[in-house]
Symmetry: C2
Subunit: 361 residues, 2 copies
């Protein structure tokens, strides 16, 4: 709602304070305006990512919305359109879910040819506990008409045709895990993360989890907006029709040892995370040199389809010198990480095996 | 010659001292035994690479050869076989050439899938002044027979079928720039660099520049040795016949700013090197973001076909945030660097455009 957005000057000053705080906390700034920053490497080693160091991806300046006055318009192909107050949403029965979010552009700088777009390394990634009300509850109250085919979620960020908005198919919009989240890691959402209400779409790349939700519209035709049809598509530039970017591809990350680490001899524990959107990870393998000598790592917790799983591998007899460590995850559908990135013009969905260089002795 | 190689224990102790000195000087050790190490990044910014930080690539333990007693057997399809003493070679008319040497495996760790083999980053590269006698002079004295098709150069390193040996076509063996080098950067060769005599083959990847030369044999049939037919070949593993690795592919390197550098705002001078084996570099372009926006850099010296050329580019208005810098060289034959590595099973010849990540503000 236009009337719930702060003035430009308010936006700028609040954003600056929050940004300075973020940098103090260790976020790695990729772009100061609009503010975009990565989770620092050390924080990725934690099972849950603390909010102050959780990556921030915004396409526009961060709107400042008051939880007391902000309202969400629920409209379109519904029987009962209504204005949803944040206070009202807060009183409904809530769910808490641990969800891994990864930016679709994460790993873009490892793609060749290097695509245009924010130069994300591998830190546009984090896992938090999100608490909120299923979007399905709100849609249930509005009563979707049978003509509805998608549900559009619009943020309060951006203007005109560049207003940030994304549509979900009904199956995902009505899934009980798709939340209108009010809290992150047990505290009200911060402005950078979409306060007072954001969508959280488990299993999908982050663009689906619209921040600063201001409008929910049931659509009778597929959405054709900029962030649905011109961005967040796998455009392979070879004449094939681009596929939309949806679920997170199976991927893993080595969190320890760090890049360039100098290790003493003796067994080295290689640790990391692995995830696959909407699917459980079933195997992680590690190779301690180039080539095809993959060995199974141990999963340290029961894999869930919405959050990363931690894993560990004991490297028994590292010889002195430089070594390359690689990890490769496989999910319950049998999908595994490719060894090289699947290039696309906009640089999305890079889930290729990464190479970590370390030194022993 | 087997009788000119030191005993095992002499080898080990001398090698250890030299290695410790090398590490003190800043070489980046890739493998301690046999000793393999990269030129440190800072040293690559120098027009000429100081000997103590010049990369070392050895396939076997370093032989210890006395310049007083070491002799090179010149034999095979020649009219006058003879034993060449180092002292004798030293008295001949010498030439000095500035030559860039790059290991064929340089950049292997940036290839995907990651090939087996020494995990070289981008520092298996250096430029030195080499002083010696053209191989052609020695071959002239021996008088090649007309049946000769190649000239084999054998090192004193390795044993049996793994003895390091490489053959050159006659055109390259007889080229006046192909030197039996006695000096590097104005001083006698160090042991790590092939003392007392090594071959220097300008324009070719480093494997051709055989160290510790012990035998020169004119061959009447193409050489089939391990390091000629089983290694140093572009094996694309797709059924095509492997091509031999020969001249260095066109390539460039950004030496400043360094990876991860935090720059203040204002114009930034991007600098580096570019080279192409046996050819002059004619253009270097720089892109300061992903995509295809390449702009010409300035070559800082007259390009030569055997050594890198330094270049600079002024980045006028860097905006705050993370940026990706890329450089791309083109040579006089119109060859330019590919944006992604041309994968091959053994990981040779990676001349792909590299991505350097820096921060502004």
């Amino acid at each position: 709602m236009a009337d719930s957005i702060g003035t430009g000057s308010e936006e700028a000053s609040a954003s600056l304070e929050e940004r300075e705080e973020a940098e103090r906390q260790g976020l790695v700034v990729v772009k100061p305006e609009p503010f975009n920053a990565e989770t620092p490497t050390q924080a990725l080693a934690l099972g849950r990512t603390p909010t102050p160091v959780f990556y921030v991806r915004s396409n526009h300046a961060e709107p400042e919305l008051s939880p007391d006055t902000h309202r969400i318009s629920v409209e379109g192909a519904v029987e009962d359109a209504f204005m949803l107050e944040v206070a009202e949403l807060s009183q409904q029965k809530r769910r808490s879910l641990t969800v891994t979010l990864e930016c679709a552009g994460n790993g873009r700088t490892s793609m060749a040819p290097l695509p245009e777009g924010e130069p994300w390394g591998q830190g546009a990634l984090g896992t938090a506990i999100w608490t909120g009300v299923p979007l399905a509850e709100v849609l249930s109250r509005a009563r979707l008409r049978k003509e509805a085919v998608e549900v559009l979620i619009e943020g309060a960020d951006g203007k005109g045709s560049k207003r940030f908005a994304r549509a979900l198919p009904l199956s995902k919009a009505l899934h009980p895990d798709t939340l209108l989240a009010l809290e992150m890691n047990g505290a009200p959402l911060t402005r950078a993360h979409g306060a007072p209400v954001r969508l959280v779409v488990p299993g999908w790349y982050g663009m689906a989890s619209v921040k600063w939700v201001s409008r929910i519209e049931a659509l009778t035709r597929p959405f054709e907006g900029y962030y649905q049809r011109d961005r967040y598509i796998y455009d392979t530039a070879d004449g094939r029709k681009p596929e939309p970017v949806t679920r997170m591809r199976v991927k893993s990350l080595i969190t320890s040892p760090e890049e360039g680490a100098r290790l003493t001899e003796g067994p080295v524990v290689v640790q990391g995370m692995a995830w696959s959107g909407e699917r459980r990870v079933v195997q992680v393998e590690v190779a301690v040199d180039g080539g095809d000598n993959w060995k199974s790592a141990t999963l340290l917790e029961v894999p869930r389809p919405s959050a990363w799983v931690r894993w560990a591998f004991t490297w028994e007899n590292p010889k002195p010198g430089r070594h390359t460590l690689r990890a490769r995850a496989t999910d319950e559908a049998g999908e595994t990480q490719p060894e090289s990135a699947q290039w696309n013009r906009l640089g999305y969905g890079n889930n290729a095996v990464q190479v970590r260089v370390v030194y022993v002795g």
